[in-house]
Amino acid sequence: MKAEYLSSIAIVVISFLACAGAGKLGVGRIGSPGPGFFPLVLGGTTGILSLIILFSRLWKGRKFTAAQSRVSAGVVIKVVCILAALVAYGFFVEKIGYVLITFIIFGFLLKVAGTKKWSFVVGGAAVVAVGSYILFSWLLGVSLPTSPFGI
């Protein structure tokens, strides 16, 4: 239930910011809409709908007790690890090249997913990094960044 409140409040805030930003862009008039007109309409409508959702949840919250869907700490850690891996991939792919970053990130993701044997993690990551480079770069002609060593 808390997540529902927070999500509704977050959307109301986003809608308010969108309306404020739209106002700065120039709304124009109805017969001659400016660049901010459409975002203002969308922001306003989204805000009103989210407030309806929020108040209907508040109403229900007083009357009913809903089962909360709890997420365990282990799952949160895995979710954070996966997102961190994606962000890190973006940071390093052009600096150290596709093969090396793919080897590191793929091995890391195998561990996050629960693969226990280190030999499988290292071997699997190496095969996938090199194999996917050959497939995408050499065979399919996709442009992938290389390291200072050429791959």
């Binding site: 969308l42 891996a85 994606l86 940071f91 052009e94 793929f106 195998l110």
Partner: protein
């Protein structure tokens, strides 16, 4: 040229070896992603986009289309064998398909599903061939109010189909359109909501958003399970249906074709409603409705036929009007734009190779699916046994390669990660990503037609209701909305009355 010359021309395009190969790759990949958990046709199409950029546009669209209708076949395999729908369109197949499998008749269920899909898809294509071009010619007369009304109807239907909450579906569609306003305003050239980030000058890319919401978001949700599918004890038996199965299913297949085709024409409905309608119709007119849900073959044949007929009919609004019917065709629309092809009424006249080549390739695709999939069902079952802990890193890697290689821009990788998190949180808070993506894709068309209409009418909103076609479409949208709102208000009033009485 008459219609038969067009069809002949289409086959000349579709039968070029590279296009046959693309069609084959598309349908096989489509079946594979339909079978695999956590990887749908939306994310896969997005991943394949960078590869298809090297191909001629017709070849690329033939492959991506094959992937779309191939996924309908694949999705039914998991529905029947493990009671887990591979796609939203195969949910209803679980009801009788899985029961058949439990009784040791998984083979005939898979067989009739493949044959029904083939018949539905093929007959639907005949309708597409005869209707798409006249609709495109008619659409040339559309003005901004008509386009706005069609988009409004599409968004209304998509949001009303949101399984969790229609109101939340609307919020998502509005937010999607709001995100679609990021970038340069085409009317004035002014930058909107870019915060000085150069990557955002052309707007937020569709592909990173889709890969984030449907690829990464789905992975994050599946982290909670990290389990493979249990197909251990499911019996498949002989694939080919018996004579009795044929007799029991023949009318269900024909009715499913008509239902799927008609519903597939409606912008926004896509292939999602038709299997449910088909199942409801079969149950209603059956001599033994009480047996539905216990493993009757009509309960598999009708819906499976309808979803394929519908998915092929949904190419009419996409190619003739430039309006996607669902998220998958929204990705196809995005792909066409990336290839420099503008879908819409002029496509048939300006790019007949694209239009007729893609449509006729679907005949080939349907034949390939039925010929290949019947003997390959054993292989798909083996693929179902791959542990998810191995698939998960592979899917993420393909997402990364796909997003990065479109523009070689790492900012888009971060946008994908951000939308992955947003998609995960959306699901946790019962918001669905499909209306968001539809809003994002339709945003430029909606804004453009909305502003132009208001300029034409000097600010009068009545323009959307006073022109005949837009008026009818808006009234249908209002009826759809009323169909949702009226029962909701009635329930609220009853709750308030009960509270007052207490």
């Amino acid at each position: 040229m008459d219609i038969f010359s067009h069809i002949l021309y289409g086959f000349q395009i579709a039968l070029i070896p590279v296009n046959i190969l693309a069609c084959f790759a598309g349908v096989i990949l489509g079946t594979l992603v339909g079978v695999l958990p956590g990887l749908g046709p939306v994310a896969t199409m997005s991943m394949l986009l960078p590869i298809t950029l090297k191909m001629p546009p017709v070849t690329a669209v033939i492959m991506l289309s094959g992937l779309y209708y191939g996924a309908q076949y694949g999705g039914s395999i998991t529905s029947i064998l493990v009671n887990v729908p591979g796609e939203a369109t195969t949910v209803v197949t679980c009801l009788d398909g899985y029961k058949m499998a439990q009784k040791g008749r998984g083979g005939p269920a898979l067989g009739i599903s493949a044959i029904g899909s083939f018949i539905g898809g093929t007959l639907s294509l005949i309708g597409v061939m005869f209707l798409a071009a006249p609709i495109a010619s008619f659409a040339l007369k559309f003005g901004p109010p008509e386009y706005f009304a069609i988009c409004f109807l599409a968004l209304t239907i998509v949001t009303s189909l949101a399984a969790k909450s229609t109101l939340k579906g609307f919020v998502m569609a509005m937010l999607g359109m709001l995100v679609g306003t990021v970038g340069m305003d085409l009317g004035t050239g002014m930058s909107r909501f870019t915060f000085g980030i150069q990557t955002l000058a052309d707007g937020i890319g569709l592909i990173p958003v889709i890969m984030g919401l449907f690829g990464v978001g789905e992975i994050l949700l599946n982290v909670e399970k990290l389990v493979g599918m249990n197909v251990g004890d499911t019996k498949i038996g002989k694939i080919w249906p018996t004579v009795k199965d044929w007799i029991d299913s023949r009318w269900a297949i024909l009715r499913g074709t008509v239902i799927g085709f008609v519903l597939g024409l409606i912008p926004g409905s896509g292939a999602i409603i038709s299997p449910f309608v088909s199942y409801a119709v079969e149950k209603k007119i059956s001599k033994h409705p009480e047996k539905f849900g216990t493993g009757v073959i009509e309960g598999v044949a009708g819906p499976e036929t309808a979803n394929n007929a519908s998915s092929q009919a949904s190419f009419i609004p996409l190619l003739s009007l430039g309006i996607p019917s669902n998220v998958v065709t929204a990705v196809l629309l995005g792909a066409l734009m990336i290839y420099g092809v503008e879908p819409g009424p002029l496509l048939v006249a300006n790019r007949p190779d694209m239009f007729w080549g893609v449509i006729t390739s679907m005949y080939l695709g349907n034949v390939m699916l039925v010929v290949l999939n019947m003997p390959l069902i054993g292989l798909w079952v083996q693929i179902l046994r791959i542990p998810y802990r191995l698939l998960m890193p592979l899917i993420l890697l393909f997402c990364l390669i796909g997003v990065y290689s479109i523009n070689g821009n790492v900012v888009e990788v971060w946008i994908m990660a951000l939308f992955g998190l947003i998609g995960y949180l959306m699901n946790k808070c019962s918001y669905e990503p499909a209306p968001f993506v539809m809003g994002l894709v339709l945003s430029p068309i909606v804004e453009d037609s909305f502003r132009q209409s208001l300029v034409l009418s000097d600010g009068s909103f009545l323009i959307f209701f006073t022109r005949p076609l837009s008026g009818v479409l808006m009234l249908i949208s209002v009826a759809v909305l009323a169909g949702y709102c009226v029962p909701l208000f009635k329930r609220k009033i009853e709750v308030i009355k009960e509270n007052v009485a207490d």
